[in-house]
Amino acid sequence: MNEILLSNQVIVYLLSESVLFGLLLVAFVITLGILAKWDFGSYSEQQFRLERRAYLVMTILLFAFVVKFLLLVYFVFTIDNLSVLVPGAMCAAGVISANDYGMPLLFLKLLILFFLLLWMAVNSFDLKARNYPLFRLKSWFFIAIFLLIAVETGLDFAYFGQIDIQKPVSCCSTLYGQMEGANPLPFGLNTATLLMLFYLLYAVVAGALLSGQRALSLLASLLFVVIAYYSVVYFFGTYIYELPTHKCPFCMLQKEYYYVGYLVWGTLFGGIYLGMIASVMEITLKVERGRERKVALILLSIFVLLCTAYVAVYYLRNGVFL
């Protein structure tokens, strides 16, 4: 048996994912039944029973969102800890690339969390409307999310089950290091242009969130998350590590860096998710989501200030940039 599957953290993680999947499977079956017989205009006993079941599904999904969020953090923490077992790995970067399932799994987890958050926003709007105008839409949306979660659960087992602890993996310096003469940044950007775009896009996202320009906010957010990722890995991260050659999105999640990676990535993705959900809801449902926009702006501002502070503090202490 694969020794990775005997690790305490992996057992806890896979067990939690399995229990949650079982719970969501119940919600999925109930939702299919509800969709087949739902008639809000009816006063039959069956319709009242379906409405009570719809509340059960909603409760399960709210619980699933909270647990999925905690499990994403725990997943990252687990793979980071597994780096002591996998030869060659110095942090989660090596472990996540130990087989072909790691990176798609992480991406899928982020996508599912976004969809669950969007489902919750749609659900809260639906509940306030009293006559459930979006009931069918949100039910079909849940079915789509459930299918993604089924793939995710399969990938969880495939990923952890196929980490070979006899086979050395690459460390982050190799994975995120660049080829001689090659530019690792997207769109052929250099570091100066990347930073200019980082601050410019933050200004556009902040301005669009404040002035309520939904389409612009959506477009700028999508671009900002890409530019911000590369900015953190290839520029701000080097100030977190205080080492110009250390380029890694995972090492900052470790104790040596005071777990600041959780704050960096949490504020970035939290802000982007909430900003995008507010824009999507405002464009499609024509509802005002001012609170989400404010929280998104606060989270993104914390992210930008935090990244900038690392550079500023380094410069003030050492008198030079890296």
Partner: protein, 167 residues
């Protein structure tokens, strides 16, 4: 003010998009792979613009360089026979690949599997295996070179270096 803000934001966004397009137009990345070489012949190497996929270094000369061409036309370039051995070992196309090496004695591209390899040559990654067209004292064949490389018996190993060079 309310009318100016959206215009300023749209202008900023246009500036962002324009910057990205200009950067993309200027992009001139080194290559690690060439396509279309279905004849599996050795291709001319663009020096200082071609990366070795194993060690990630740029190829600055064809002296002792290698090329791996496979039937679908893809071709990779290497600066040291040792790099090629490590890279190709677990590739599914290992047996179908045509491997070319630029010899250090005749300066020709020949079949790497027919070349003879010195064990104490000064090569790009200091593994020590210099390819020759003609057999000479102390040279080994391709299979022996491959095995030594995979076992770590090359000049990067201090014990082997001490044994072969005395340093």
């Amino acid at each position: 003010m309310k009318k100016i803000v959206p215009i300023v934001l749209i202008l900023l966004m246009l500036a962002v998009i324009a910057t990205i397009f200009i950067s993309m137009a200027k992009e001139d990345q080194p290559v690690t792979i060439m396509t279309g070489n279905t004849e599996m012949k050795p291709l001319p190497i663009k020096f200082n613009h071609t990366n070795d996929p194993q060690c990630a270094m740029l190829l600055k000369t064809d002296h002792n360089a290698l090329e791996v061409a496979i039937p679908d036309g893809r071709t990779w370039f290497f600066d040291d026979p040792g790099c090629m051995i490590l890279w190709i070992e677990k590739k599914p196309f290992r047996d179908q690949a045509k491997i070319w090496v630029h010899t250090i004695d005749t300066g020709k591209w020949i079949d790497a599997k027919k070349a003879h390899y010195g064990v104490t040559d000064k090569t790009e990654m200091r593994y020590g295996f210099g390819a020759r067209e003609h057999e000479s004292n102390g040279t080994i064949d391709f299979e022996e070179m491959r095995l030594r490389m995979l076992r770590g018996e090359n000049l990067t190993n201090p014990k082997i270096r001490k044994k072969l060079l005395g340093i």
